[in-house]
Amino acid sequence: MANTDSKPRSFQEIILRLQAYWAEKGCAVMQPYDMEVGAGTFHPATTLRSLGSKPWAAAYVQPSRRPTDGRYGENPNRLQHYYQYQVLIKPSPPNLQELYLGSLKAIGIDMEMHDIRFVEDDWESPTLGAWGLGWEVWCDGMEVSQFTYFQQVGGHDCHPVSGELTYGLERLAMYILGVDHVMDMPYNDPDALIPLSYGDVFKQTEEEYARWNFDVANTEVLLRHFEEAEAECENILAQEHVDPKTGKTIIMAHPAYDQCIKASHIFNLLDARGVISVTERQAYIGRVRALSKQCADAFVQTAAGGAAA
């Protein structure tokens, strides 16, 4: 394990330390989901696995995209593509707060010198039909994480309850590394053979995507993709549970959920293009929520969702 007594020196070291810490605490260290999502919560390892009765513990980095937050890489802390670190443990252990504080220590935050606070912040995801209670965690007045006890996901009551931790990695790392502009943050070790900054890695992509997100993305194509994803999600879920080819019972909750994720991201892109009016907005959110509810309904009928085999 990394030397936690010293301060980390780079963005990636913070990630590596979080991975090592949560691995040591027994989480399955998973990899990012291979689709565009708005937040780490969308990873099926959180959304779907927080449902049903089966215990679960996972930690992973999730690249997240929020097209409306693009600033061409110029804003010191706003990005259309960023990383979240996500931990989900079900059932939430009684010492989850202590475990969380241990992770802050692991990435170089000295509890003796800093002021850590749990400030009320209830979480709700209208597109996922999910809500929970918890806090935003403050370190010296700066929000460094979200801490949530899931109460409902996809319209289902969570039982047992999952504890979810979300770290906004860039902001947290900037704070620990004492960097004022995200693009100036060391991505790898500053003494490495080829030292790279966050800007070296992402400045160009931020520019490219900002332009595409705001001005170029073909909204007609996107609108069509949205409809198609929605239709496919419903088509998948409408299939017979028994596969006529293999004779096995196979409920395709995950493939359906992929389409739900897709619809959600397309909606975000359309939003960034400014083609969704205030009233339409609610309708789109409602459509994505309907999909995620159906996916949740399907998942709890599967073995991973805790259904009796």
């Binding site: 939430s92 009320e120 007045g141 700066m142 009233t279």
Partner: protein, 683 residues
């Protein structure tokens, strides 16, 4: 008599819920104990971010024995009846008592419910309290089914007296009550046992927890003041923020930091709002310049470097926040300087209500209305329209998007950059007022015109689409809008009847007028005017003229407080009753006018003369809307009316005399009715 100490220790309770929760804990537990017969001398409740605490002094050690007597069957009743009675009472035959009653010999049972030890009762009451606690929002955690505001970790529940303390045996959802707790999350020394409240509070303090929220707030307020004062500065008072911050810390450490020079020229409200909303900082003002120059943050711990690291971190966060605010400000100022056309353009895409169109359409309506209202309030019509068109422009600004509570205020600042006159700038802020019953009411004519137009548009609009307030539901704050109109009219002494204030045709004005009257009643009742007095005035013509209505009601209220008033009311009621009965009986209305020549009695003559004397001045006073003078006139009638009823029998055998007297009474009725509908006044 023992004391009781209860502590419910959990993960961080939202600051806004703590005080109420401590009160609820106290109420629910003490109510439950008292109901079970356990009285106590004194109770106090406390809260910190991680605990709710209740301390009871002088509680009974056990509930008193209760004896209940039950009457049973007659002696010699069938055996089954006696058996059933014994079963119900839980007694045996030899425990029954035979007593003679008028109906013969009857069995009586005395059932004794022995007192129960306090611990057993406390355990029941506390479990019930925890399971049914009225949190505004509660949650489950782990595999449990218990609901609490955040995970509940431990229950401390002990009774104590001179001989020592004892844990009350109980458990809720697997959490066993004990005699231990812990102090500060970071500075404390782990779990420790306590023996009673004093020991508990002292050990908490040793472990860096100040139990009382009031004490924490006082510490913060005093420290903040000292820090500011030492540099010739002052704290911008904010009681709500103080209470909230006291709920975020167990061990308050107050630190003062600088605001970078780049931001000192932002409007004070922007600095204050940004610091308060995002960071929970107090603003520190330089009394000489009026500028916000520093901030105070309250940390939850001491550190070796006396908070230097914490302060530096907070300062950095503030820098980022204020950079955002400055960015918004500069963008907005640029837009305002260019005339702000894009802000108004944007409002065409913002729905105000799906049946009432966009914000832009609403602005058009308000602007037209403000124009029409302008002459009534003494404002220039062009200016009023201009102000109405500007008033909502800031809703499109970046600053208001970020901080909605700055709406109106930013409009005032930006108006200057957009080259609008001072009246337009002021109206941007003031047209939202008054927001509550104690909020200041605008008096500048342009502001009054826009404020009235804004509120009347909302009221008539929602009335037209039938979205009226029901019960406790008033999502569009229509009650507030109506009260605002009332206060605007009264404060500015506007003599405009509501029906003459140009309102939209499609609204049902009759019903809306009733709504105004309801709000007016509430408003005047708070000012000490009786509801029946108000009703008596609402029943009169011209009841859509709020100022007239209020003048009439206050004059009547004052009159009814005098001897003359109450006696005159009696006289009127007597006259009215006699008249009504006679009119019903005779099938006519006595309003022909009485004739002096049929007068028989001196008192009757005096009443005649008094009516002749006062009728004209009262009518004159009412024409001039001088209701106080009208009341003086009525007061002059009191003695003659009293004397008349004392001396004269209205229902004389002589029918001519009787009818003449009834016609005389009719003059009283008519005169009184010109002042107010006194039949509605109680007493």
């Amino acid at each position: 008599m023992p004391d009781l100490l209860i502590e419910l220790f959990s993960e961080e309770i939202p600051a806004r819920m703590q005080k109420r929760a401590a009160d609820d804990l106290k109420k629910r537990v003490t109510d439950g104990l008292v109901e079970a017969g356990l009285t106590y001398a004194h109770a106090s409740a406390f809260s910190t971010p991680r605990r709710l605490t209740l301390a009871l002094e002088g509680m009974l050690a056990e509930s008193p024995t209760v004896r209940e007597e039950r009457k049973g069957p007659k002696v010699g009743a069938p055996e089954k009846a006696i058996e059933g009675f014994l079963r119900g009472a839980g007694l045996t035959m030899d425990q029954l008592e035979e007593r003679e009653t008028p109906k013969g010999s009857v069995y009586f049972a005395t059932i004794e419910k022995p007192g129960r030890p306090a611990a057993a009762i406390v355990a029941e009451v506390l479990e019930d309290t925890i399971r049914n606690f009225p949190w505004p929002k509660a949650m489950r955690w782990g595999t449990g089914s218990l609901r609490w505001v955040r995970p509940l970790h431990s229950i401390l529940c002990i009774t104590s007296d001179e001989t020592g303390h004892a844990v009350v045996p109980m458990s809720v959802d697997g959490i066993e009550a004990g005699d231990t707790t812990e102090g500060h999350r970071f500075m404390g020394s782990g779990r420790f046992a306590v023996t009673g409240f004093e020991d508990y509070a002292a050990k908490l303090k040793r472990d860096y927890v100040v139990l009382s929220a009031e004490e924490r707030a006082e510490m913060i307020a005093a420290d903040a003041q000292n820090l500011a004062f030492a540099q010739g500065l002052e704290v911008v008072e904010d009681k709500g923020l103080l209470a909230e911050v006291a709920g975020l810390v167990e061990w308050p450490v107050t630190l003062m930091g600088d605001i970078a020079d780049d931001f000192l020229n932002l409007p004070a409200e922007v600095l204050q709002t940004s610091m308060k909303e995002h960071q929970k900082f107090f603003s520190i003002r330089n009394p000489k310049t009026g500028r916000i120059e520093k901030f105070i943050t309250v940390a939850n711990r001491e550190t070796k470097d006396n908070g230097a690291t914490i302060l530096a971190g907070n300062q950095k966060v503030l820098f980022a926040r204020l950079s955002d605010a400055k960015f918004f400000w500069e963008n907005d100022v640029r837009t305002a300087k260019a005339g702000a056309a894009e802000w108004l353009e944007k409002l065409t895409n913002v729905t105000f209500h799906n049946k009432l169109g966009s914000q832009a359409e609403r602005i058009d309506r308000v602007a037209a209305l403000a124009r029409e209202i302008a002459p009534i309030v003494g404002a220039d019509a062009d200016l009023a329209e201009k102000a109405a068109r500007w008033a909502k422009a800031d809703l499109s600004s970046e600053m208001v998007y970020e901080f909605p509570e700055l709406q109106g205020l930013m409009g005032r600042y930006y108006a200057e950059f957009a080259g609008h006159p001072a009246e337009v700038a002021a109206a941007a802020t003031e047209h939202y007022s008054p927001l509550g019953p104690s909020d200041d009411v605008p008096t500048a004519p342009v502001s009054v015109a826009v404020a009235l137009a804004d509120k009347l548009d909302v009221l008539t609009g929602f009335w037209a689409i039938d979205e009226k307030p029901t019960g406790s539901k008033d999502p569009f704050a229509l009650r507030r809008a109506a009260l605002g109109v009332i206060r605007l009219i009264l404060t500015n002494s506007l003599t405009a009847p509501l029906k003459s204030l140009p309102v939209r045709d499609d609204a049902d004005m009759g019903d809306l007028l009733g709504f105004f009257h309801d709000r007016l009643k509430v408003f005047l009742r708070d000012q000490g005017i009786r509801h029946d007095v108000i009703d008596a005035c609402i029943a009169m013509d011209g009841n859509d003229d709020i100022a007239l209505l209020v003048n009439r009601a206050s004059a009547l209220e004052n009159f009814m407080k005098t001897d003359d008033g109450t006696n005159l009311l009696q006289g009127f009621k007597r006259a009215n009753n006699i008249l009504t009965q006679a009119e019903e009986k005779d099938g006519v209305e006595y309003s022909y006018g009485a004739d002096m020549k049929f007068v028989e009695d001196d008192a009757e003559k005096a009443l005649f003369e008094a009516l002749d004397k006062f009728e004209a001045p009262i009518a004159e006073a009412i024409r001039g809307e001088d209701f106080a003078a009208a009341m003086v006139g009525l007061a002059g009638l009191r003695a003659p009316i009293d004397a008349f009823f004392e001396a004269v029998q209205v229902n004389s055998d002589n029918d001519v005399v009787r009818r003449n007297r009834l016609n005389l009474l009719s003059r009283i009725r008519k005169l009184c009715a010109s002042v107010a509908d006194l039949t509605k006044v109680e007493g």
